[in-house]
Amino acid sequence: MRVSWVAVTAGLLGAAVGAMRAASRLDRLHVRTDAAWAALDAALYRRAVAASSLAGPATLRRAACAAQRVGPTAREDAENELGRMLAVLDRCGLEPTCANRLADAEQAVVIARRVYNDAVRDTLALRSRRMVRWLRLAGTAPLPSYFEIVEPELPAYGLELDGAGA
């Protein structure tokens, strides 16, 4: 009889420790996701500012201004619209400093988006675990979502595979 009590207590204790560790891990992941979102938000804003200061077509400036003002729900569409405008922009006529600033800002968006989506992926993976769902370890933290926009074609370097996967 006593043995089974010991076993049950040990089991409960183990589960409690596991749950506490998962909870603190989850907390870290939420903080990481929030910080990554703040960085992505800033990178997107920087791209929109760089685009709106260009002497490009009026449609581009409109899209850039819209991207700076849009709310979170329509953010992906607005950024995609700006991305489409930038993809067809003729950069040869741009002033070199402006063109470089824009290219830098675009590259920063690509990296920031990967950083953010990585954080989301890790968070969602842990939140889908049964223990986390049953014990509601995530508390009231909203479920993060991927930021999906079309990635710009960056110049050069994009070395593709030659088919054979050695």
Binding site: D118, L161, A166
Partner: protein, 387 residues
């Protein structure tokens, strides 16, 4: 903004290797841009046989461990952990850059101890999926500390996405242009009569040595003094037997060489031939030859086509065709003007893989990682994006 960067190399600096060369090249490139870089690597302090750059902190002697099909020197354990901890606390880094943090290694120790944003670079396109998948579950809480990831090739990125989860920014290996362009040729070279170079594991069929041998057999009829210099791992006797009596006397197998030795060979040959049949994701030897000012004749694989700017920075021939290869080599060997034109085009092309240029791209990843540092979030969690 100048950064304090802590870089961790998992493999012993006493052994030459791609990752080690990458770490030192990148560190030098970043330092040339004015950033402070410190490297922690398995190495022995005050080893007379091996002078370490002043920015390298030795973490002790590496242990040889079989990993991914080869034996690599790794280091781990409480002594290494203690050194890593002190190294981090002494330098107060803005960002940590760990190379290959998936093996049981110094990089993984540093990751476990890290308190600053972490950038991780994945080098190998290892497809040992089961081992990776098994380790993945145990390592996941530690791996979650990585802020941004870099893959050095499309293949490395794909393996990373498929087996480790998570995406990576692709930044290729750099090449040390200043060192290669200033290398001295071997004694007696460049010589008249024509010299072709080959660098790589010549025994591996996919590297295409049989195609080159067949092409050379045609060429020696009209070029009695032609010579082939071979650098790399492999069975020299088997190569000479495969070459046959007529050709064998014209082949010099130099075996695996140091970076300096390889640079000297590149400076010595008239043409570097890269006849690979497939399975190449980048072709670092192409960039090395271009940096050395050596004209290149390579197979028309997609990876090589991109590196050689669609044939503008080097000659492309159909993969696996000895006739096309001998024609291309012959025309280049006979035409010094074409050789110097290709060499000049190669030098212009390779500028984008020069370490300071690659280092600028890595720097953008550092800046993104620093921007995503939770310690910058003053308001704490909750203020960010909802659904």
């Amino acid at each position: 903004m100048l950064l304090r960067i802590g870089m961790v190399c998992p493999y012993s600096l006493a052994v030459p290797g791609g990752v080690q060369a990458h770490v030192l090249g990148l560190a030098n490139g970043l330092r040339s841009l004015g950033h402070q870089v410190e490297v922690l690597a398995p190495a022995v302090a005050n080893d007379p046989a091996q002078a370490l750059p002043e920015f390298v902190t030795p973490a002790g002697r590496g242990v040889k461990v079989p990993y991914n099909g080869s034996v690599v020197p790794l280091i781990f354990g409480p002594v290494a952990a203690n050194r890593a901890w002190h190294w981090m606390h002494d330098h107060d880094f803005d960002v940590l850059h760990l190379h290959e943090p998936i093996a049981p290694s110094l990089s993984l120790i540093a990751l476990a101890l890290a308190e600053v944003p972490v950038v991780a670079t994945f080098h190998f396109a290892t497809t040992r999926s089961r081992a990776l998948a098994a380790a993945q579950g145990l390592l996941q809480p530690t791996m979650e500390k990585i802020t941004a990831r870099i893959a050095v090739s499309p293949l490395a990125r794909r393996v990373h996405v498929e087996y480790l989860g998570g995406d990576a920014v692709e930044i290729p290996n750099g090449v040390d242009v200043s060192r290669l362009s200033g290398a001295r040729p071997l004694a007696g070279y460049p010589r008249s009569g024509g010299t072709v170079g080959f660098v790589g594991r010549f025994g591996e069929p996919r590297k295409g040595m049989p195609v080159l041998l067949a092409a050379l057999r045609t060429l020696i009829h009209t070029r009695p003094d032609l010579r082939l210099l071979v650098v790399g791992h492999g069975d020299a006797q088997a190569l000479l037997r495969a070459a046959g009596p007529a050709l064998a006397s014209r082949i010099r197998v130099l075996g695996p060489l140091s970076d300096e030795g390889k640079a000297a060979v590149l400076a010595s040959v008239d043409v570097l031939c890269v006849p690979a049949l497939g399975g190449e994701s980048f072709g670092i030897v192409l960039t090395e030859a271009m940096a050395a000012g050596t004209p290149v004749v390579a197979s028309d694989l997609d990876a090589f086509r991109l590196v050689l700017d669609d044939g503008k920075a080097g000659m492309l021939v159909p993969a696996g065709s000895p006739d096309a290869l001998s024609a291309a080599l012959g025309s280049l060997l006979d035409d010094p003007a074409q050789r110097s034109a290709l060499a000049a085009a190669g030098r212009r092309r390779v500028a984008m893989w020069d370490w300071p240029v690659v280092a600028r791209r890595v720097l953008q990843v550092y800046q993104s990682a620093v921007a995503a540092d939770p310690r910058r979030l003053k308001s704490g969690p909750g203020g960010a994006r909802g659904r």
